[in-house]
Amino acid sequence: MSSRWLFRRLTSGVMVLFAAMIINFAIPRAMPGDPVDSFTSGVKLTAEARQAIVERFGLDKPLWVQFARYFVNTLKGDFGVSFYYFPKPVLNIMMQALPWTLLIVVSAMIFQVIIGYFLGVAAAWRVGTRFDSIIQTVSITVFSSPIFWVAMVFLYVFGFQLEWFPLGGNYTAGESYPNTFAFLLDVMKHAALPIATLAFSRFAVYQVLMRNTMVGVLREQYIVTAEAKGMGQFRVKHRHAARNAMLPMITFAGVSLTIQIGGSVFIETVFSYPGIGKLIFDSVISRDYPMLQGCFFLFSLLVIIGTIVVDFLYLFLDPRIKY
């Protein structure tokens, strides 16, 4: 690994974070009107909240002082105080919500990748057949269906009508559990529908990606070699073709982790699941700007971590890559 690559990687990460900071800094200040009002977009605040904002962001000071202060605060992990949960700091609330979101998003992604892999491989193997076109049609339809609506339908059918799963929340409030296992079971029960919805709504991307790359790989000479070697279909398919075809899928998984955490806004809203997504929705409704900005910054950070993880994965998966 060259130091040049490392440097490039780091600078681009820093640039993204910096851009996120500038956006967060600039948006409220670009609005016309009274500084505090535009800063809160006219939401009614108590006098003490109002005063807190002026002081906190130094709205009476020159712009560069404001930015310097903002910059230092952000680096310290201080994203301000939530309007809605005043006077709790944004960071604390986000950190409480994040694990729940990670639970459903990461579990859902595991399902998506597995389903996407197998369907993609199967479709590519029979490219151009009826089977392939059915899979593609289903994928496109599912991908184009709004995820929150899918969630609503799932909730209506499996939660409300069939009563298989609870209607919302992360665990049953007020319940006392005999042991940890019972608690975990309850948590899983609550997470099942959100995970299922997320897995169902987004497997298509992996499927299409896997299939398209695989179709290309299947035309490669080394596949002919593999078949000529007298290997069974399974071995040719998975050991030789899919192994090469899964690289773009891995890249996408890294990027999509953040996209999906973002998408959890919809899932968590519908299932009243107290993760980051629900937090964003509530913040939109209550116009809790510090919280929204905090979430945006957190996401930017996650994106960078995601891409770096993928870069390292690549080193193991593709021997041709040298950084």
Binding site: W5, T251, D311, Y314, R320, I321, Y323
Partner: protein, 325 residues
């Protein structure tokens, strides 16, 4: 003999570039390193070498499709490395190129008529009314049909040989005198190759062209060229009359190439002395001294230190080898 083209210490360096994570291409230096030669009017000048020796870069520089790092190129006494855009455009009427790949060098969306007429449109020569006439005339010159139906076809509907004839027609329609042909037949079928080659030779005599003929097949160069330059890792190692270079190769590299060519008749003796060190290594930088010395069977100590210059040994026969002098 009139010199039409003069190349002086032409040099091209490519930086070694390793692109981003997702583009897996690496670039090596395919440099052309201080190459000088003259081309006489009316001759076919062959440039021969293995892939990666810099022959294509050299060809592109001759027409200034690639900017040289340093050096000068004179076309009829005019230095084309320093002319401005407008002047270069005018020069392009006189000097043209035939490309290697007849499939990718024609825009797949254009009709045959538009492809052949494109040079006329670009240079705004020949009025609209007579354009079609000129196109048909040029097509006839390269032995292609001139029917309306043919003019309306797209490249996909043509065979490789026909496409390459279109390429030649495009090069000729403006009345070029000097043509650089970069492996013009290497992608064609054997039975079609000869037809294109003889068309090119025939055209040369009929309209007085001068060719630079680039090829990796030394046999083909022998048949088509008057003089041959053999390139190795960006340098010309031998230059002379085609007959003489083929019959009496002086540079060990040329000798190696000659020996490597399979003879037409079965011959057990073929390639007998070609040893393990034959394969062209990939260098980030060329080796010190004579570039061929790591592969050279006759290499001696000085060969790894001093880089030999191209020297005239007999009348018109130049070679860059310490041992051969």
């Amino acid at each position: 003999m009139e010199t039409i083209y003069k190349v002086e210490e032409l040099k091209k360096l490519f930086p070694v570039k390793r692109r981003g994570i997702f583009e897996r291409t690496r670039r090596y230096i395919h440099a052309v390193d201080e190459v000088s030669f003259n081309i006489n009017k009316g001759e076919t000048f062959g440039i021969v070498g293995e892939s990666g020796c810099g022959k294509t870069t050299l060809a592109r520089m001759l027409l200034r499709l690639e900017e040289p790092t340093s050096g000068k190129i004179f076309f009829k006494g005019q230095d084309i490395t320093s002319v401005d855009r407008q002047e270069l455009k005018n020069l392009r009427k006189k000097m043209q190129m035939i490309f290697q790949d007849p499939y990718s060098s024609l825009d797949p969306r254009k009709t045959i008529y538009n492809l052949v007429a494109e040079p006329l449109k670009v240079h705004k020569v020949v009025q609209d009314g007579t354009r079609e006439e000129k196109v048909k005339e040029t097509l006839a010159l390269v032995d292609l049909p001139t029917t309306e139906e043919f003019l309306g076809k797209v490249p996909d509907e043509l065979s490789g040989g026909q496409r390459q004839r279109i390429g030649i027609a495009r090069a000729l329609i403006l009345g070029a005198e000097f043509i650089v042909a970069d492996e013009p037949v290497s992608m064609l079928d054997a039975s079609v190759k000869a037809g294109i080659t003889s068309l090119m030779i025939d055209l040369k005599q009929r309209i007085g062209l001068t060719y630079v003929f680039i090829t990796h097949e030394i046999g083909l160069a022998y048949y088509t060229c008057d003089r041959i330059a053999v390139m190795y890792l960006g340098k010309i190692v031998e230059l002379g009359n085609a007959e003489e270079v083929i019959r009496k190769p002086l540079h060990p590299y040329t000798q190696l190439l000659m020996e490597a060519i399979p003879p037409l008749q079965p011959d057990e003796q073929w390639g007998k002395t070609i040893t393990e060190r034959g394969e062209l290594p990939l260098f980030d930088e060329p080796p010190k001294g004579c570039r061929f010395h790591p592969r050279c069977p006759a290499a001696k100590d000085p060969c790894s230190m001093d880089e030999p210059e191209l020297k005239e040994i007999t009348q018109g026969h130049h070679v860059a080898c310490l041992e051969s002098w």
